[in-house]
């Protein structure tokens, strides 16, 4: 019994140590690891609100879906690793999260543009629309400078051919919304549906316009209802600071538990590793995005995970003081304190769930980590901490109770 329990304990410690060692790499992997929110690595959060149509027609779900598809296309052209584009049909909004985008200013610029491509004759009449366009690509021009190559659909090619035949010798304005992109003179009729817009200084600016042209125009005009933009180095700074905060918090909690609760304190600290590991793997598994308030929620949940242990240990102390043996004290302490813990944690869980339901963005992240934390606390407390304590008591049932923080005087 004695030796068996000691072996079990040693094996368990080794197992947890190995699990921690093996988990660090996959969890902190920048691509496949736990996802970091844009406040921790820079990026943009945008809420685009569809403006009511000028003619008073209501905005339909279909409009929002179309807008979403177009925005997704533009986002993909930005090369962000895991962009989030979410429609909110009730409120006629699209929420966009771009974490880790290198140039947030440019991203905002591309996303908010309604970008309706039109061709206009010298009198300013729209003669051809972007819908007839099949593709647009930025590229190197024949001379110096860069160009956007346009290719039209078969119908568009026909229209464009007629148009260039009519307007020979005149100017054909190419507009993106009301901005004149270029105003070339038509030299020859273009009948094959392939045209190019010249005069770009950089490949980047040509490519940007190409993105706007080929993704087409948004079906409704959208305004920025909310924007949160965080620079990349600011994000890294926040991440480092919160890791530091978490580390110091943990160290002090560890010391506190060791000093006040001795052996059970050490068990609690040991359980905390298991707790943290489970929580992080849950985040990883469910692709939870860790944000700044999310980390705060996690640190807070560590403080509360320790609560569970304190409630149980104090109860065990009381049971021992009331004359129970160590082993009986641990058993009855656990089962009686469990009711207390359930009641106390369910009330906190209620708060976390309501927060999650009503919260937006950052608050949701906080509620999620707090809620996951509470559930995992209950789980590790009941399974892990209890078993380890039993084994420890099993190594020596006559163990001095001072190691459980109980003074048996008189």
């Amino acid at each position: 019994m004695r030796r068996g329990n000691i072996i079990k304990l040693v094996v368990l410690v080794l197992l947890v140590a190995t699990a921690v060692a093996l988990s660090i790499k996959p969890l902190v992997d920048p691509v496949k690891g736990v996802l970091l929110g844009l406040d921790l690595r820079g990026g943009v959060h945008l809420v685009l609100q569809a403006e009511p149509n000028e003619d008073g027609t209501p905005i339909t779900k279909d409009d929002i879906d179309k807008a979403k598809a177009i925005i997704e296309k533009r986002v993909n052209d930005l090369g962000v690793s895991e962009p989030i584009v979410q429609p909110d049909y009730d409120k006629k909004r699209i929420v966009i999260d771009l974490a880790g985008v290198t140039d947030p200013d440019k991203a905002v610029d591309i996303l908010k543009t309604t970008a309706k491509l039109t061709f206009r004759d010298p009198q300013g009449n729209v003669v051809l629309k972007g819908e007839d366009l099949k593709d647009a690509k930025g590229g190197q021009g024949q001379g110096s400078g860069y160009v956007v190559n346009l290719s039209f659909s078969s119908e568009g090619a026909k229209k464009f051919g007629d148009l260039t035949t009519q307007l020979i010798g005149q100017r054909l304005g190419v507009y993106l919304d009301d901005d004149l992109l270029t105003n070339p003179t038509v030299n020859t009729p273009i009948l094959n549906g392939q045209a190019e817009i010249t005069g770009y200084d950089t490949l980047e600016s040509a490519a940007n316009d190409a993105v706007l042209m080929r993704s087409g125009s948004l079906p409704v005009s959208m305004s920025i209802a909310e924007k949160r933009q965080v620079g990349a180095s600011l994000g890294v700074d926040s991440l480092n600071k919160s890791i530091q905060a978490g580390l110091y918090g943990l160290i002090f909690i560890f010391l506190f538990m060791l000093i006040f609760y001795r052996i059970p304190g050490a068990v609690a600290n040991f359980s905390l590793f298991v707790y943290a590991l489970i929580v992080l793997w849950v985040f990883w598994g469910f692709r939870v995005v860790l944000t700044l308030p999310g980390i705060a929620g996690f640190i807070l949940s560590v403080g509360m995970a320790v609560d569970f242990n304190i409630i149980i240990y104090e109860r065990i102390k009381e049971e021992i003081r009331a004359g129970k043996s160590l082993r009986a004290g641990v058993e009855s302490g656990f089962s009686r304190a469990f009711i207390t813990v359930i009641d106390a944690h369910v009330t906190t869980l209620i708060a976390a769930l309501t927060l999650y339901y009503f919260g937006t963005g950052a608050i949701k992240g906080f509620a999620l980590t707090l809620g996951v934390g509470i559930v995992v606390t209950l789980f590790t407390g009941i399974t892990f901490t209890r078993t380890v304590l039993r084994w420890i008591v099993g190594t020596n049932p006559k163990m001095n109770t001072t190691w459980f923080g109980v003074r048996r005087d008189g």
Partner: protein, 315 residues
């Protein structure tokens, strides 16, 4: 100390070297709470809360310049593009926090360009830029109030099922006390309220009731074991002291966690953790000194009226 039976009131008194009768002095605790609450409430009516752009709508730019700058240079530049708003400098006058109306992208870029030329170069990669339209702010406030109300309703429901309705009411009064203390202090010192403040308040909500439930749980247990002739006040006092170390230690670990976020966690989580620090401290206080005393007052009063009714009938 004798062992072999559940602790008696006298034994509980002996175990704690600092024992004093908490229940008998309950009017003191009520008075102490009022001393903290009243200035906060007055301030709430007089100057209200310092609501941030999350609620009012607006734009907020947090930028770090390469050299130290002056407030006047920034406000003048803002004026030159037709904007105004408070500017806060920090970090040896290199960081500026600029608040103004909700800016369109064009206007924002115009302002940033003007600042670059007139005030100096700034670090683009550490720019923080928030814009909240006015409609979004109203929505946030509405959602926050709903969240608080619904959480409160659910908690009353849960505690009523698990305990009694009186426990739920006393717990919620203690909760409102905690929230009012935090909100009052934020109003008194005009600390800014942003969207994370609601999260802080709701966590205080969840955590403070957690603390209270631990004591209530003991009262529930001891109440069931009360013998004839036992006094309700003594039973409550005993329960409070039996759970005293638990209440203090659980709050301590959470306070350690919060303090480390507050001190080391960076600017953006500072006010958030401060609100929670105040809340958790008040929560710990109120679960020991307020919640159970209110429970006691309600229980005594409801009993007295019943007795009074009987005596009246005898006449």
């Amino acid at each position: 100390m004798k062992t072999g039976h559940p602790a008696t009131y006298d034994e509980v008194k002996q175990v704690h070297p600092l024992y004093f009768n908490i229940v008998k002095r309950r009017l003191w605790w009520f008075a102490l709470s009022l001393v903290v609450l009243i200035p906060g409430i007055i301030s709430l009516f007089m100057q209200g809360l310092n609501l941030g752009i999350d609620y009012k709508g607006g734009s907020m730019l947090d930028m770090t310049f390469n050299k130290s700058v002056t407030q006047a240079a920034i406000t003048d530049t803002m004026k030159s593009v037709g904007l105004e708003g408070p500017v806060q400098l920090s970090n040896g006058d290199t960081s500026a926090l600029i608040r103004t109306e909700a800016l369109e992208e064009e206007k924002r870029n115009e302002l940033l360009a003007a600042l670059q030329t007139n005030v100096g170069d700034y670090d683009k990669t550490s720019l923080k830029d928030d814009k909240v339209g006015p409609a979004m702010g109203q929505e946030l406030t509405r959602n926050a109030l709903w969240a608080l109300l619904i959480a409160m309703g659910l908690m009353i429901g849960y505690i009523t099922i698990r305990f009694q309705f009186v426990f739920a009411i006393s717990g919620i009064i203690a909760l409102l006390h905690d929230v009012l203390v935090v909100v009052g202090i934020f109003s008194l010192f005009q600390l800014e309220i942003d969207s994370s403040f609601v999260a802080a308040i709701l966590t205080v909500f969840g955590y403070s009731i957690n603390d209270t439930v631990i004591i209530f749980d003991r009262i529930r247990e001891n109440e069931a074991k009360m013998k004839k002739g036992d006094i309700f006040e003594d039973m409550v006092d005993k329960s409070i002291w039996q759970t005293m170390r638990r209440s203090i230690n659980t709050s301590l670990t959470v306070l350690i966690a919060l303090l480390s976020i507050y001190i080391l966690g960076g600017v953006s989580t500072k006010l958030f953790s401060l609100a929670m620090l105040i809340g958790v401290l008040t929560g710990a206080y109120s679960s020991i000194f307020i919640a159970s005393q209110i429970l006691l007052e309600i229980k005594i009063r409801t009993k007295k009226t019943r007795k009074g009714g009987k005596r009246f009938a005898l006449k």
